[in-house]
């Protein structure tokens, strides 16, 4: 396998870098050195994998979605990240970075959250590892995801509501960075996705690639034609794509088309954005002619983000992966479809991937498609029921 670590400027091709205030740069360098060292230390890696096995319940299963496959005429395999402890893939990263924070002697961790899944995962890791935890969450998201707010508090985390901007994920990320600029000496920022200044996109990718590596092993050499995953910041998708990048398997990331790309209200940073600098990285983002960030929209809080991880930007620019999009309405149909055919209620985020396969079923007829089912939908049930889906 070729070296897939970013270059010495922290870039994947043209994307990434360290666009952060000077105050944070020494901490980012310290973080890179600490993770590099930890990641080659069998004791650290062993503890991480031990937690994943016994605490998270990995490996998560990979199986054929039999009735869904029959319905669509497409062989659909599901990687069941929804079965991981706390209900989504986010725990892989939160535990890994929590262990790293402890190793670096930082007793306090900060996180941002959109749907609440990363916040819950970080609060969980902090409780398990004995760390103080503060989670920033947009006010709008706190309303959409009240259950997760309560879960975080129950786990001992302090949840801070963010009122600025659209009061969603982007604003929570900014608030978390602002906290970190002030507390960098004793705090570690557990960023929730493959975004942010280097080394975050690389660290989070390393901690999420377990998804793809497990899947590859579970497939036993029988590669699918395609791997499909939803993309907000892009951590579940990078996690499952990673070991497949060097194969011939087609990689498809599904972004949020919200009310439709043409409406301008969406979260499709790659499909409908342009290169720019957001939250520390050069990447694709939603912006106006003056470089002001444009608010994203998605029914799913986890995809409601105007940027995307720089490694995805690189995969898109080089043509190795392609990025499609699914509207709010289509995603809701995806929730219904998987629930009724498989008895699995997917997270609204993951439903974007399901919905895309369903939408493209004619083009995909007879093919085998591996879908990363990144999270379970319990958190979305109140929101969905209020919309009168059934």
């Amino acid at each position: 396998m070729t070296d897939t670590r970013p270059d010495d400027t922290g870039r994947f091709g043209d994307f990434g870098g360290i666009y952060a205030p000077e105050t944070l740069v020494p901490a980012l360098a310290e973080l890179e050195a600490a993770f590099t060292e930890a990641w080659s230390d069998p004791a650290f890696v062993g503890e991480y994998h031990d937690l994943l096995r016994h605490y998270v319940g990995r490996p998560t299963s990979l199986h054929l979605a039999e009735r869904l496959s029959g319905e669509l005429g497409v062989q659909v395999l599901l990687k069941r990240e929804d079965l991981a402890h706390t209900g989504a893939h986010k725990i892989n990263n939160a535990l890994g970075q929590g262990l790293l924070a402890r190793r670096m002697g930082k007793p306090r961790v900060i996180a941002e959250t959109g749907a609440g899944q990363h916040g819950v995962a970080t609060a969980t890791a902090a409780a398990r590892l004995g760390l103080d935890c503060v989670v920033y969450m947009g006010r709008v998201d706190m309303e959409r995801q009240a259950l997760n707010v309560y879960r975080m508090r129950l786990l001992g985390a302090e949840v801070v509501g963010v009122e600025s901007g659209a009061a969603t994920l982007k604003d929570a990320v900014s608030a978390a960075f602002r906290d970190w600029v002030a507390t960098v000496e004793d705090s570690h920022y557990i960023i929730g996705s493959v975004v942010g200044p280097h080394p975050f996109p690389w660290i989070v990718r390393e901690l999420q690639k377990v998804i793809g590596e497990e899947a590859l092993a579970q497939l036993g050499g029988d590669l699918p034609d395609m791997v499909v995953a939803c993309v907000g910041g892009g951590s579940n998708s990078i996690g499952i794509f990673h070991p497949f990048v060097e194969t011939d398997v087609e990689l498809v990331g599904v972004e949020a088309a919200g009310h439709g790309i043409e409406s301008g209200e969406h979260g499709a940073s790659i499909s409908a954005g342009s290169p720019g600098i957001l939250h520390g990285s050069m990447t694709y983002m939603l912006q106006d002619d003056d470089g002001q960030v444009v608010e994203a929209h998605s029914i799913s809080a986890g995809l409601d983000y105007p940027g995307v991880g720089p490694e995805h930007a690189h995969l898109a620019a080089t043509g190795r992966a392609r990025y499609e999009s699914i509207t709010d309405e289509e995603a809701l149909e995806g929730v219904k479809l998987l629930s009724m055919t498989e008895g699995i209620i997917p997270a609204l985020e993951s439903a974007h991937a399901i919905a895309w396969v369903a939408k493209e079923r004619e083009a995909l007829a007879g093919k085998t498609v591996l879908v990363n089912l990144s999270g379970r939908g319990d958190k979305d049930v109140t929101q969905i029921s209020e919309m009168g889906l059934i």
Binding site: E22, V25, I277, D290, Q292, V293
Partner: protein, 263 residues
Amino acid sequence: MGAEALSELFDRTRTEGRLAFLPYLTAGLPNPQVSADLFAAMEAADGFEVGIPYSDPLMDGPVIQEAGRRALEAGTDFETGLRVVSEVKERTGKPVVVMTYVNVVQSRGVEQFAAEISSAGADGLIMADIPLEEALPLKAAVESAGLGMVLFAAPTTDDERLDRITSENPAFIYGVNDLGVTGERDEESGRGVTLAERIRSRTQVPLVMGVGISRPEQVAALKGIADGVIVGSAVVRRVLEAPDVDAAASALTTYTTEIATAL
């Protein structure tokens, strides 16, 4: 004009044995039409940091965030920001440094951005969210437009890195006076003086301290160490709190005069 205006300013204040005072204010506040009036009201200033508002100001605390939000809502786009820069320059004749975030610069292309702010009358450029490594590729373009490039040093910056920053000979070093984002502090941490002394012991490149400075005694503590101070949130807050433009202007005149007594 340009970078020279800044070096002349620091030469002068060094000769006079005092600090240069560079207050920050967001362009377009409370609206683009009267924005330059508020800069002109700060008569005791030696120059100005004019903020071009950005939607996601990572280095700014609640006061400057709110200012940026209001300025953007009042219709302050890039063109408006340029007009404010040129009005401030025309009315005061003092050095003007543009402060913004890197995406605002990158979205126009650094060459074009630098050329446009330079012809509007700016003398220097500060980008709050880039460290040395990402600043260097932009520095040549900024300097070719005749502007001074400002580089940051923070309390967390080690000596080896400080030497790399000073060896780039920026128009001035923006010394970050405290950890955290912009905003007034109830207590002075002392980190700023420590950093300023550390920088001064290594270089004679002009050093201007900012972030968390709002009181005369904080300014006085930097005298004889730094070359200047930036005061932002305390200025901006007075504008946000003022009932009208006249009240804002008069509050700024009073406040900046008070700061000037400590220079």
